[in-house]
Amino acid sequence: MFKNLFLKSTAIFIGLFLLIFLAVPIFQVFYVSFLDQNGHFTFLNFYDFFQSALFIESFYNSFYVAAMSVVLASIFAIPLAYFTARFNFRGSVLIQSLGFIPLIMPPFVGAVAMKLLFGRNGSINLLLNDWFGFKIPFMEGLNGVIFVESIHYFPFILINLITSLNSIDRTMEESAQSLGSKGFRLFRRIVLPLSMPGYIAGASLVFLKVFDDLGTPLLLDVNNMLAPQAYLRISSIGINDPMGYVIGVILVLTSVSAVYVAKLALGGKDYSMLQKGGGGMIKRNFLPHQKYFAYFVVFFILFLVLSPHIALTLLSFGTIWSFSVLPDAYTFDHYKDVFENSVFIKNTLLYCSIAAFIDIVLAFFISYIVLRTKIIGRQLLDYVAMSALAIPGLVLGIGYLRTFYSFNLPWNDKPLASWWFMIVIILAVRRLPYALRACNAVLMQISKYLEESAESLGAQKTTIFRKILIPLMMGGLLAGFITSFSTATVELSATIMLVSTESDAPLAYAIYSYMQTAAGRGPGAGFGVIGVLIVAAGTYLSQLIIEKKYKQRGMDAKVD
């Protein structure tokens, strides 16, 4: 039958794509980590890793930074989530939107600018010293990484926790109350355990992101962590140095075990499915003094959240900014530099739109195959595609370099790994889970009877795709496209390995390389601002589309 043949060959094609561009590169990293110089199997590389004081320290530091970032991010997120869920509080809207701001900008973009604001001689410490005569080492060594990372990633905890708290049915608390429970005891025994799934999901995400992050420690001159060590080994010693691969394996294993531990901690229980009503906790009004306190906390965290953006903007407009609270003077010169080197922006727009297009096409077919067909191995397709989430970008980059370096392009005899299109593909693979989630969500809402009724009227599969599914899924597809696109524009850790010439480099790479010199900071910040604007516009657009979709509820109701 034609329809099955078409879908089956599509499934095989997607399977091959994932095999070549996701599974094989990761397998390569694992494989090479077990080879000695002569290409024989050995455990010696791992033995060497654990014998090296530097690597042990790096491992410890990465772990420490990731764990402390979770702690600090929790301190930011928990009160905000609690205010929103428990109280009738006008600041709730502020909190919810505030939660998205840091996600717009990856931590490495603002890292240098944060040094100028919070560093030893940064604005805040200069003021503290003037007024109170002491300084706080926000940005010293590992502190800096923890500080910057937790400001950027606390929304993962915030958003998940709010979702979790809002799905607690109020009768959960009420039944405890009528059995004599109240106050903190009730909170500890009922609310806290019920909000755990959201908290753990968020916290494990923060841990993963921080553990794998490459750009932030590099730009803050913290090299004794795992990701920077892997990068430095490969980029300075070469792609045959086994240590880079060993570190890669350890990064992957840690990521996977963090996910596993989180799963274990949840015990496989999704409470939100079991509570029928939802609708959130019992809401209370603040007492007057509580209200002031709440607003104080919200505005304090708002300041922290916005500080990288403020600092980046100041840096991009400032002439000289050193040992002073604010830059000495302001100029547009950095933006002149930015537009003279607009090739980076052009590259990014090109790469990311192709990558996002690939994502949305793959995601459409994967979700269709998984949700609508009985093709053998369809779940595996979904599983492999989603697993890209747990693979550190840096490790994938190393894998690409290793796998595709030995193949040469037919037209110029250069290695495949140095071709710009590989950057597009790695971005597509990295962002595929986002698009896939969006597609799954919309397709699940569309009743399969809509397709079957078209089928019974004699429509071919391709007609059904064209006339029924794609129009119905348009909003979701577009939102998925934009999410993949905008988050890809600031992806660094995967692409940093694959940039072979400046002229092929994307925006994120430009930000990174400019930020490394004092003279480049201004233009680097300018590029950063441009990147943030692109992502912000994308996020805004996809929110708009999703909202519009909600307004069309009338259609959805019939579809369900």
Binding site: D169, T171, M172, E174, S175, A176, Q177, S178, L179, G180, S181, K182, R185, R189, I190, P193, L194, M196, K269, Y271, M273, L274, Q275, K276, G277
Partner: protein
């Protein structure tokens, strides 16, 4: 102490401009199985939640065992509530769910063990104590919710539409179990439902709510026989209500339907006729004869329900179906009889 365990006096509740409960006065006797019956949005659940302490009234008083409690917190009231969705805590086992209330009361752990075992036996769930709520069926969850409330021996048991999430067969079975429990434990129970059949079958007394007002209070049979208004009459089963005028012993509707032999003392502007008090056969010579046209016919097995058009009134008639009895079809002429002694007046 009076025989009333709960006294509700002049209770008013509004949300903004929405007046949900209007001047409610009710007395609930000790050991009663008392039902709040009414359509959704009538205020019955609000009143139940008010007794449990989850809602606040703008005015009025609420007494339990003679103590005014409208300002005390839910955890100080000693009132047990079983929620419509059961509200079992998904992170606790059946045992933990049940022992929760005892632990909050700081009861010795050996005592807790004993009491939980007792109540598990009471609801027949001895083997499921280690299960989590999501591993239980709807009926089992319901019983855990009951056990969790009963184990702390509350003064009053509040049941908020406890049967609405069960399938029809289980609902009838749980009805019986609930009544058995009530009788065994002698606990005052307030039961909220929108299902008149449930209310009639279970309650010793019931209060019918509509639009935030208590329409009528009494025993189920009394309310069925003597409804005080058309809402009650229609809510407790189907009733034919005909508006008109009574002069001497003759009732005349606005559209011209005439009924004779009306009780001399009857007063009102409407007559109420239950469908089963219209007959196809003249059992008594005093019965008055009418001729109408069948509008619809529903064959329900033991009963056939006709709607009959007579003088532009649509009357509902239920007749017991005996095997081989004649069935009328729409537009057929139909002769029926009316026993004027069964007429009620409003």
């Amino acid at each position: 102490m009076s025989e009333n365990i709960i006294e509700i006096k002049n209770i008013n509740v509004s949300y903004g401009s929405n007046h949900v409960l209007k001047d409610i006065n009710l007395n609930i006797k000790n050991k009663d199985f008392y039902t709040f019956l009414g359509p959704s949005g009538c205020g019955k659940t609000t009143l139940l939640r008010l007794i449990a302490g989850f809602e606040k009234s703008q005015s009025g008083e609420l007494f339990i065992e003679g103590n005014e409690i409208s300002h005390s917190n839910p955890w100080e009231r000693d009132v047990g509530m079983v929620f419509q969705n059961y509200a079992l805590w998904p992170h606790m086992t059946v045992y933990k769910n049940i022992s929760f209330g005892l632990e909050e009361k700081k009861i010795q752990s050996s005592e807790i063990k004993k009491k939980v075992a007792e109540v598990l036996e009471l609801v027949d769930l001895q083997d499921l104590s280690k299960r989590y709520p999501y591993q239980l069926s709807g009926g089992q969850q319901q019983r855990v919710a009951l056990a969790r409330t009963l184990v702390v021996k509350p003064k009053v048991l509040l049941l908020d539409e406890p049967l609405s999430n069960l399938d029809a067969k289980l609902r009838v079975q749980m009805r019986k179990e609930l009544l058995d429990l009530h009788n065994k434990l002698d606990i005052t129970t307030i039961f909220v439902t929108h299902d008149q059949e449930e209310a009639n079958a279970m309650s010793t007394n019931l209060a019918i709510f509509n639009d935030g007002i208590v329409q009528q209070v009494g025993k189920p049979v009394d309310l069925y026989n003597n409804p005080s208004n058309t809402f009650v009459a229609n809510f407790l089963g189907t009733t034919n209500v005909i508006e008109g005028e009574i002069k001497d012993t003759i009732f005349k509707s606005k559209k011209g339907l005439v009924v004779k032999n009306i009780n001399k003392n009857a007063k009102g502007t409407s007559i109420l006729l239950r469908p089963q008090n219209l007959y196809l056969e003249q059992r008594n010579e005093k019965f008055e004869k009418f001729i109408g046209a069948v509008k619809t016919q529903e064959f329900l097995g033991n009963i056939v329900r006709y709607t009959i058009n007579i003088k532009n009134h649509i009357l509902v008639l239920d007749t017991l179906h005996e095997v081989d009895k004649k069935i009328y079809f729409p537009d057929e002429e139909i002769v029926f009889y009316l026993d004027s002694e069964k007429i009620k007046f409003l």
